[in-house]
Amino acid sequence: MIEQKSLSKKDLVIAYWRWILFSNCNYNYERLMATAVVFSFKNVFKKLYGDNKVEYKAALKRHMQFFNTEPHFGSIIHGIVLAMEEQRAQGKPVTDEAINGIKTGLMGPFAGIGDTLWQGTLTPILLAFGLSMGSQGNLMGPLVYSVLMACIMFPIGYMCFMKGYGLGREGIEKVLGGNQIKKVITGASCMGAVVLGALAAQFVTVSCPQTIQMGALSMGMQKEVFDKLFLGILPLGATLLTLYMLKNRQMKPTLVTGIMVLVGMVGGVFWIL
């Protein structure tokens, strides 16, 4: 007889908080969030596999694999995986490959969605709001920023986690089959890109202080040439060039920082920039 081991709401809530509060404690270059996944499922593993030494060890090893995603939106993966582990413990044929496949298959897309919406869209908008007060010395600026951030992101993480568990119970085919996830990715990347464009316009500042002497006529490079061509052409160009170095040339961000410092030094010393 197969004993029906199932997870209670309390198990899920505990796993969520263990994940969201400790996701990056042992962040490292080799396997990033691997130990965080095992840490967050502690109570689940004990409940599901506590009486089966073989399965228990297998579960620990299964989740010691490379894992990296954005913690809040990505917690949907944890929800799905918990539902799969539950079904496995109930004797259903859920293989190691299926579980690892879901984790590695979804961690990239959800890192993309999550980072775009959290660090690329929400954070800069809230910061711009907080800065407008903070730069006047109004202490409400940092306070409102912090409170809004916490009140938006913790519930988002919680909803994604529970949503993932629900999806996982309905069946993996449904998670991967429909184009729901693709729709979310498309929408998020589109919105994120527009907001990032706005941020580039507001916060990247590059200008050319040079003037060209042509006989009696002196021409300010910035006002007479670049601004006439296209307002903000230098900051836009600088941002797109940075993207090109990162994306097309696959340069490390640290190297790109180095290049920026170098360009800034050369440009600054000769007052070209």
Partner: protein, 266 residues
């Protein structure tokens, strides 16, 4: 203004708490809140007895890091160190918020060494956790996940930040006084370029092709139409909604046709 040792140490402890993955409410409490120079500057202001000045300086230091992103295990700048140590230095030197940005800039670049050090050293604890997994010792994995890396991170972050605040402040005040206009201009230029890195990293994190037109659209909304950023965000959401509808038409119709495997091939 002079800084007492306990003040420097307290600033160092807050710098630790601001590190991604510290024990302060996960990534939201650390990376998203305490690590922001706006918040860091205000905290330093409270510790040094002038929260309003701290807040103003922190807001200025925040600017180059507005679109800062930590993704894929990479953190090419350290707004936290710029925020905590930079604000403390600026307050002791009594400089303007604009000059504070330039003081903080080298800190933001140097601080990445702390990140690289703990991301590298933490690998040791993963290998120890592997051994524990072989033995089926879950409690040990949980211990290894939290305590050794956090104690390591505590020392890696508190010690340099405390020393920098306690011993660096006076020296920096002298250096600032002696700087001519060109070095300050160089730092200003670099500070103006840096937001481009965060923005480009965000764009790369999106990971889709065909986002550039949307990016340029957002740029034009600000440069030519002078819209506030919240308005741009709302317009962006509307554009995203319609674009999604158009590029993924009528899921239901396809599902009812019973052809769910080829729904993306058109």
């Amino acid at each position: 203004m002079t800084i007492e040792f306990w003040q420097a140490a307290l600033i160092g402890v807050f710098y630790y708490l601001s590190q991604t993955g510290s024990l302060f409410f996960g990534c939201i409490g650390s990376l998203s809140i305490l690590y922001k120079p706006l918040v860091a500057g205000t905290i330093v202001g409270f510790i040094l007895g002038d929260p309003v000045s701290g807040c103003i300086i922190g807001a200025a230091i925040q600017l180059p890091y507005i679109a800062f992103i930590s993704a894929g295990g990479s953190q090419p700048m350290d707004p936290g160190l710029a925020g905590y140590v930079g604000t403390a230095w600026a307050m002791v030197a009594g400089v303007s918020p604009a000059a504070a940005v330039t003081i903080a800039l080298p800190l933001g670049l140097l601080g990445t060494m702390i990140w690289i050090a703990h991301m590298t050293l933490d690998v040791t604890f993963v290998h120890m956790a592997d051994k524990a997994a072989e033995k089926g010792d879950l409690d040990k994995i949980c211990f290894l996940h939290v305590w050794p890396p956090q104690i390591l991170l505590f020392f890696l972050s508190v010690i340099p930040a405390t020393i920098a605040v306690y011993y660096g402040a006076d020296a920096v005040a002298d250096i600032i006084a002696s700087l001519s206009s060109t070095p300050l201009h160089v730092l200003e230029v670099i500070g103006g370029l840096l937001p481009a890195l965060g923005i480009a990293m965000n764009l790369r994190a999106i990971g889709r092709t065909g986002t550039i037109p949307f990016f340029i659209l957002g740029f034009i909304f600000i440069i030519y139409f002078k819209l506030p950023i919240t308005a741009v965000a709302v317009i962006a959401a509307i554009i995203a909604f319609f674009y999604t509808q158009l590029s993924h038409p009528a899921e239901e119709a396809l599902a009812s046709a019973g052809d769910s495997t080829e729904e993306e091939d058109f």
